[in-house]
Symmetry: C2
Subunit: 289 residues, 2 copies
């Protein structure tokens, strides 16, 4: 019977849907299902009605949920109190990021932070990686997600992933290089689909950084997944971050780049970020969690 149970309870009531509620509180559908079952067992009566494909609330459930809401409010009051005492309350953090990170890493991050500091407002700005850098330099945001940050500049490493080559399945390269990977040189010589994800660090920049040149760029698209679709159509090969691969890989052959190339996301703070208590609180939270 943890707090998570009650949070989940309220979330399910709000969403009328266990799956969405689970996402809201940051757990899987399965975990949520179990947690709810457990909670109901502990209470001794069902809180929710499972009927056809949506979840309702029993009469008793209503009462319980109302109380739970009040309880969580009290909890938030405590947290707010804590923040206020340190002058963090009413703080506002502007955080800049680019699409892939915004949709993958940030949600969980921000959820946890909001839970810990309900009194601090976090505004997320989305842009290209270049824009993020500009905003940081201009000090219009306190925090920014940057790629491959210069060492020492990063305050927190958010994550990393490897670049992988994508080509239509069934090519002869497939059996040759599937295991040991493919070199940039081999890639550069083929018809290429340039995917950017809205970043200046992309297939083209990587190849050029290696002193090579793409001999035949067929298309340039912003979306990673779109690029993979085009590969499947046989228009060429491409280079994408592993985490950006589409779920459905049929018709595609994905292989590591040799030697491996990684990209790393770091959170850096601007001059004004360094002096903001709220911002520092966020960074502190990341160092452990």
């Amino acid at each position: 019977m943890n707090l998570l149970h009650w949070r989940l309870l309220v979330a399910v009531a709000d969403a009328s849907n266990i799956t969405r509620a689970a996402e809201d509180v940051g757990m899987t559908q399965s975990g949520a299902s179990q947690a709810i079952a457990q909670l109901e067992a502990s209470l001794g009566f069902p809180v929710f009605t499972r009927e056809r494909r949506h979840i309702g609330v029993t009469a008793l459930g209503e009462q319980v949920i109302e109380q739970a809401r009040k309880m969580l409010a009290q909890l938030n009051a405590i947290r707010a109190l804590a923040d206020e005492s340190r002058g963090l309350s009413g703080g506002r953090i502007r955080l800049a990021s680019f699409p892939s990170v915004t949709s993958t890493l940030l949600p969980g991050l921000l959820r946890d932070f909001k839970r810990l500091h309900p009194g601090i407002e976090v505004v997320v700005l989305e842009g290209t990686d270049e824009e993020v850098e500009e905003w940081l330099a201009a000090d219009t945001v306190e925090l920014g997600v940057v790629m491959n940050p210069a060492p020492g500049r990063t305050n927190v490493v958010l994550g990393q992933d490897a670049w992988v080559a994508v080509m239509p399945s069934g090519q002869q390269q497939e059996r040759n290089s599937k295991a040991r990977g493919i070199t940039l040189e081999e890639l550069a010589g083929q018809p290429f689909i340039l995917a950017t994800g809205g970043c200046v660090v992309n297939g083209k920049s990587l190849i050029e950084q290696a002193g090579l040149q793409l001999c035949d760029v067929r298309v340039k698209v912003r979306d990673w997944v779109s690029a993979c679709m085009l590969v499947r159509e046989g228009l060429g090969v491409t280079l994408v971050p592993e985490s950006a691969l589409p779920a459905e890989l049929r018709g595609l052959c994905v292989m590591p780049v040799a030697p491996p190339i990684h990209r790393e996301f770091g959170l850096v703070c601007s001059p004004s970020g360094k002096t903001s208590g709220a911002t520092q609180a966020l960074l502190k939270g990341l160092h452990k969690g």
Copy 2:
């Protein structure tokens, strides 16, 4: 940050003493200490002041504690709601037990139950095992702890322990039988200190049940530990439940009885107990926890 943390927080505030608070909520001093430290870390400021040998509350701490109290009150309200819905609220359970169990097994049990069902009052009556049986038969209690209950009669097994023989250390039996144990026959022939613990199931009854007879009963005492003290003084040997042994065993030689004899505590309910929702709720709680 679970509910236990907040319970502990309040408990510490009330007790002004981590050790006692820990007992109150059912954990060790160490665990409590860690939990408090963790909680303070999470809040970001100290709630308690550690000064000389007692614990005080900081100004912010006061605020937090007040909120926590309210929060826990909300939680209790939920539980009460749950019980009320099942007609359990306002219920009263009379539970009869005898000394050794009352002081060892019951406290934790009752604490957990009260936490789960704040609206149900549990009254504990203490007596000898015979009295407990009488009360059960007369239906003046809903539940009773009985020893070695007839199979099928027990609703829940609370625990069990083995009878052990205690004699002064340094006897020649010591080396002979320490490992393989001592038979009742060997014991019956020696000067005996009869300890009862207020129960009719005791050394004498065990020996007689085995078709033997104590040849020389020197003293009869009620308290198990006192009996062990007398053994140390060299007055004779005795037979006690393992769990009743004193902490300090210097000068004593404890050895198993061969073949082993166990005693079992079971919780049985009287006729009226079978129809009481509150009583059944308690029993249900024991089946799992």
